[in-house]
Symmetry: C2
Subunit: 359 residues, 2 copies
């Protein structure tokens, strides 16, 4: 087991990474004496709820099982969690335990942030995407029909427990989708990790346990450092959004179905790289390396056909718009990204136009 720390003063918390963690009692150790509501979904429950229950042995807990999928990441689904909390007479000492992927983690975390104005929660991510990204850093939220994660709160978990054994049952597409976020860390701030990923792409795809554990741990270490430096995304934390503004547009356009978040991010990263090259910021060789690694990891590098005007409009409702100006994460090289509103709009237009459907 590898243990990292997210350094946030009195809100600091540990991240545990390794095989066999679910049944070990780690969950129960972090309930702070209170009762637990386990929040999971219909896909994850039959696979891992029993193991999580072993980790909760001796604790007073109950479970709520939600439908699976990004389409259910809504306030309506939150109501089911609130109902379970109230029916179970949970008070402010309650701990919400999010067992599942990013949707379960974001939604359960938001419910924890807002139930009785905030109770504790644990992230127990069971997908690669959640283990390397969404479970760490305290961003919680749900979608609005017109924009992803538009409703949410910053609320740090009490601990993150990433049992890498759960990746064994992950569908291939979801494994690849998670790897998009892993590649992102290399691109924005860790060239050595990017090199390592190029050398271990096939090991990751065949789920070599040591390679997966290393990839999760290095991703969490990078994310923890970024979050510790800028918890509320006043500045540098926005680097984590590489590919996300282009990607969110894809997800919103497709109604959060068809494209997995990581797939949209992969296409978004490839678009950000192309735009960076169009601006003369990223050399063609590094752009090609980026695209090649994504493709080796079986990820898309272009968006679906979206009419140009619609793509432009979708990007403008992104949370990264500030004071009417669109800010983007762009690349200066592998391992070096910038967040900026200072770019030639023509390069953005050209990038969108390359892929756009006829208006």
């Amino acid at each position: 087991m590898r243990t990292l720390q997210v350094a946030l003063g009195e809100r600091s918390y540990p991240i545990y990474i390794g095989p066999g963690l679910l049944g070990r009692g780690l969950i129960g150790e972090h309930l702070a004496g209170g009762r637990a509501l386990l929040v999971t979904n219909e896909t994850v429950a039959p696979l891992y709820q029993a193991r999580a229950a072993a980790g909760l042995a001796g604790c007073d807990w109950r479970a709520v099982v939600l439908p699976d999928g990004e389409a259910y990441k809504t306030l309506e689904t939150c109501q089911r969690v609130y109902d379970a909390l109230i029916e179970g007479q949970f008070d402010r000492t309650a701990t919400v335990v999010a067992l599942g992927g990013g949707v379960v983690g974001d939604l359960a975390g938001f419910c924890a942030a807002t139930y009785q104005r905030g109770v504790g929660y644990l992230q127990v991510p069971t997908t690669l995407l959640a283990q390397v990204d969404s479970a760490v850093g305290g961003k919680t939220g749900v979608n609005h029909p017109q924009g992803k994660n538009m409703i949410g709160a910053f609320h740090q978990p009490r601990a993150v427990i990433a049992d890498t054994d759960t990746l064994a049952t992950l569908p291939e597409r979801e494994l690849s989708a998670g790897l998009a976020e892993v590649v992102k860390y290399g691109l924005i701030r860790d060239a050595a990790f990017f090199d390592w990923l190029e050398a271990h792409a096939e090991a990751l795809l065949r789920r070599d346990p040591a390679a997966l554990t290393h990839a999760v741990a290095e991703s969490c270490r990078n994310k923890a450092e970024v979050v510790a430096a800028d918890e509320r995304e006043a500045g540098s934390r926005a680097l984590l959004n590489l590919g996300h503004t282009f990607g969110h547009a894809i997800e919103t356009h497709t109604g959060y179905s068809g494209w997995l978040h990581g797939e949209a991010v992969a296409a978004g990263i490839a678009m950000a790289a192309r735009m960076s090259t169009a601006l003369g910021w990223l050399d063609e060789r590094d752009r090609a390396r980026t695209e090649a690694l994504l493709q080796r990891l079986r990820l898309p590098t272009a968006p679906p056909p979206i009419p140009l005007a619609r793509y432009r409009a979708l990007m403008r409702v992104d949370k990264k718009v500030q004071g009417g100006r669109l800010r983007l994460v762009l690349l200066r090289g592998i391992g070096e990204a910038v967040v900026t509103a200072e770019f030639d709009e023509a390069a953005l237009e050209r990038t969108l136009r390359e892929h756009a459907a006829a208006d």
Copy 2:
């Protein structure tokens, strides 16, 4: 105009109290350069939206008008605010301006706390209850069918602008309801203010401007001091809940209709006083003074008939329950309250039984 400060470090903010503030440009001065969404309701809009608009002259703003009433303090109504924010393409620099009573302020504040994980907001309270209580202190939230304020967040406003002119149009019942919270401050920590209230009860009822401004300012000063000492209600802030656990049970039982919040609090205060006397903590003379002042302010001092078992159950879903133990705010004297779970249950039973409907 009187100006107070809520001292919360980087989250500190001013409270402005006085006549004629709405049209003065104070709202516009606190938008921090961003655009504003004015949130109000169907009752307040025809009375004060135009004046608020004068205070927003030269700013980029739009309005959303919600139905009036505690019954609309729900997540469903929040959706209308989120919709307005998204349709208006508001970004993270947005400021939500809550123009109205406690329901508008709590709900709009919650939307501000959760839109894009948090934007700024201003409290512009137009009822006495909101001016002396709910607009100050950063508690935001909405109701769940089974419990008041069960879903919420701590989110401090950027400023509170209490224009006492708006109290001129307040229905008599709502004026009295607001005075219940005013009496509360005297009871929990300010015996001199309680004395002043006894001397000025009739002046307040006839809306003497100087008396109202003094009552609002002293209430806000007391609340600001309590909030500054314990922002997140880890301890002493819970004193502000005098009468509220008994009162919330009334509101929940009556489905948030029929009884105004302040009326339920008044009955709750009288019940807490009776229980305190039953415990031998509050002498009979001070209990009688408390009840007499509430009655002079035209407030109820007994709950509606609620079956005993139901009253008990309703009190247990209150947020003040911790680790399964009910904590109550009780009186040791006028100007001295305690928050405690250490009380003889028989005194609570006796107090509930005195007023209970047949089971």
